[in-house]
Amino acid sequence: MANILDQVKTVILVMMENRSFDHMLGHLSLENPGLEVEGLRNEDMERYSNDYNSALYPVYPLANDQPLEGDLPHEYDGVDAQMQWNKVTKAFTMHGFVEAYAKSGPMPNPQSIPMGYFPSTLVPITHFLARNFCTCDHWFSPLPTSTQPNRTMALCGESAIFNTHLQLIPIRQNLFDWMKSNGIRWKVYHDGFSFFALYNKLWPYVLGNNFRRFDTFYSDQLSAPTDADPQVIIIEPCYQDAPRLGSKQPNDNHAPLAIGFGEDFLRQIYLAVTANPKRWNNTLMVLYYDEHGGFYDHVAPPPVAYTTTGNPPHPFNSLGPRVPGILISPFVAPGSVFSKTLDHTSVLQFLAEKFTPGASFSSTVAARKQQGIHSIAEALSVPPPRPIPSVPLQPIAVQTALGQHLAKKEPGDMETSFSNAAEQLLQQKPDQTKKKYPELVAWKDLKDKKQI
């Protein structure tokens, strides 16, 4: 194992937003029944069906890629309802996704939005990556709750917060400080305003030179490798809730976005990551999602206990629902499946194993390991060399009978948090912020004029 870890020179982390494993990759086992992957199976369709008001709501293939009517519940109380603990059997039934959706407002259709899954034709890049590299079919979100706590777990291995609301997020230990103290070179490529701006402790990094525009990623990758190259690269999509830098379409896959924009973003990343074989030969790219976003998944999360560090502390008794996780690298067998329990701290475990062998990332990450969370290092191997699989060169077209856009939803806490962080950055660090993110000046001007 140490030999493989030594051969990995560049770790690339790509975290998308709010989709469950079954929603994105459940099709793998339906379309390839012989594949040993914990996706959807025809023989278990009745078991998957959710119920609400005594009617069954089956899973169903989405017919096209169009924007959804709105977002789905995925705050901690909604997730609790979705996983539906049965006090007699003392197990999650995973039968409450439609009920949670109905209680959030909309009357569920027989084809209820949380129960839809994508056939491979509608997620061609995700399918391509899964079939050519390593699918992790037991990757869970660390906490059964929403975006901010789960992304904080991914960044820090711990979380002071248990829900998403208007806030600058308090953190102590974090990946950036850890990399700095261990002399690990890193860069962030962001295709919009960075999520890390929500952590005011990270503002010196966010405004620094290691944060670069995503459109420079391809050319950076194309250059010849040097000893000064980043060892860890984090790639951020253009978040739907964040102020736009430029006029780009959001592509983070957060509902209600059509999925094609995110698929094309992944296509662009893969093209860049594989553009230079000298770099590719020593690369491990991790594609994962922060949380399930309210979409159905059939696997009950295992009982990993965690209490948030904030005041008041909030106890969680299990992981959250499964999310898609794919390891993309020459160091995984083509079309392989890794089924040990993972969550976002599995990445932090791996980084510590690679860069600080013998010392864990933190005591909380070590404690999660004790509770059964494995490292992604266990999925790596040295398969025979093969040509780099080719992804479609043409951009993914988002086709919908209703056009490419959806009416803007009412701003939620995430959007307001982003706005708040952007405004505070402009106020407290005006010169640096204007230099680093000149689009924010125009964004603020338009916002003040109520034109956005």
Binding site: N53, N86, V88, T89, K90, T93, Q111, G403
Partner: protein, 201 residues
């Protein structure tokens, strides 16, 4: 032939830079027989139109569902569109429905499971029972003031013939020895196969 009755509400009329918005959209009843009408009602801001599709949906463990799908689209200038979809279940002459009752308690002696549910009155308005088939275990079923024992083995009972399908249901079922010893083996829901027909006026 399905007849559509549209009720056009007062739509936001002010000329403003607002995005189109759908405030409400209903298609009722949620289940119709082939000669019934579907009534659509909406309130929205912007120019509205309705898209209509028919959809077939696999419905494990029963037959396919036939769905009438109405999509309301609201547009306003060059602003991004708003849309909402409502599906109505199309019932055929001899329709079956799967009724789901959730188990979340045991009897006082912990020798039987109790599963309950309230069948959606909005969806099943106008629908009566022909007969009820038991699952693969004995069930004591109570609905509409009547109680009957269905012995399992696909027993079919006409005990509730012509009574409304909607409303509260309850079943009790004795636990097996294995279930008594290991509660994780107890099913978390009981499914009944119900033959349905239009309510006679």
């Amino acid at each position: 032939m399905i007849r559509l009755h549209f009720i056009f509400p007062v739509i936001g009329m002010l000329l403003c830079a607002c995005h189109p918005k759908i405030y409400s959209f209903t298609a009722l009843p949620q289940a119709v027989w082939s000669k019934d009408s579907v009534q659509l009602h909406w309130t929205a801001r912007g120019k509205t139109s309705i898209l209509f599709d028919q959809v077939q949906q696999a419905n494990p463990p029963g037959d396919s569902l036939h769905l009438l799908e109405f999509t309301l689209v609201a547009e306003k200038g060059n602003k991004p569109m708003a849309h909402q979809k409502r599906q109505v279940l199309l019932l055929t002459g001899q329709s079956h429905s799967i009724l789901v009752l959730r188990m979340d308690s045991l009897s006082a002696k912990e020798d039987s499971l109790i599963a309950i549910g309230i069948n959606d009155t909005l969806r099943w308005k106008g629908v009566a029972i022909q007969n009820v088939a038991a699952a693969n275990r004995p069930l004591l079923v109570t609905h509409a003031g009547k109680t009957a024992l269905l012995s399992g083995n696909s027993t079919v009972s006409a005990e509730w013939a012509n009574l409304p399908y909607s409303g509260p249901w309850e079943v009790k079922s004795p636990l097996s020895d294995a279930e008594r010893n290991n509660h994780s083996l107890i099913p978390t829901r009981i499914l009944l196969n119900v033959s349905i027909k239009p309510i006679q006026p």
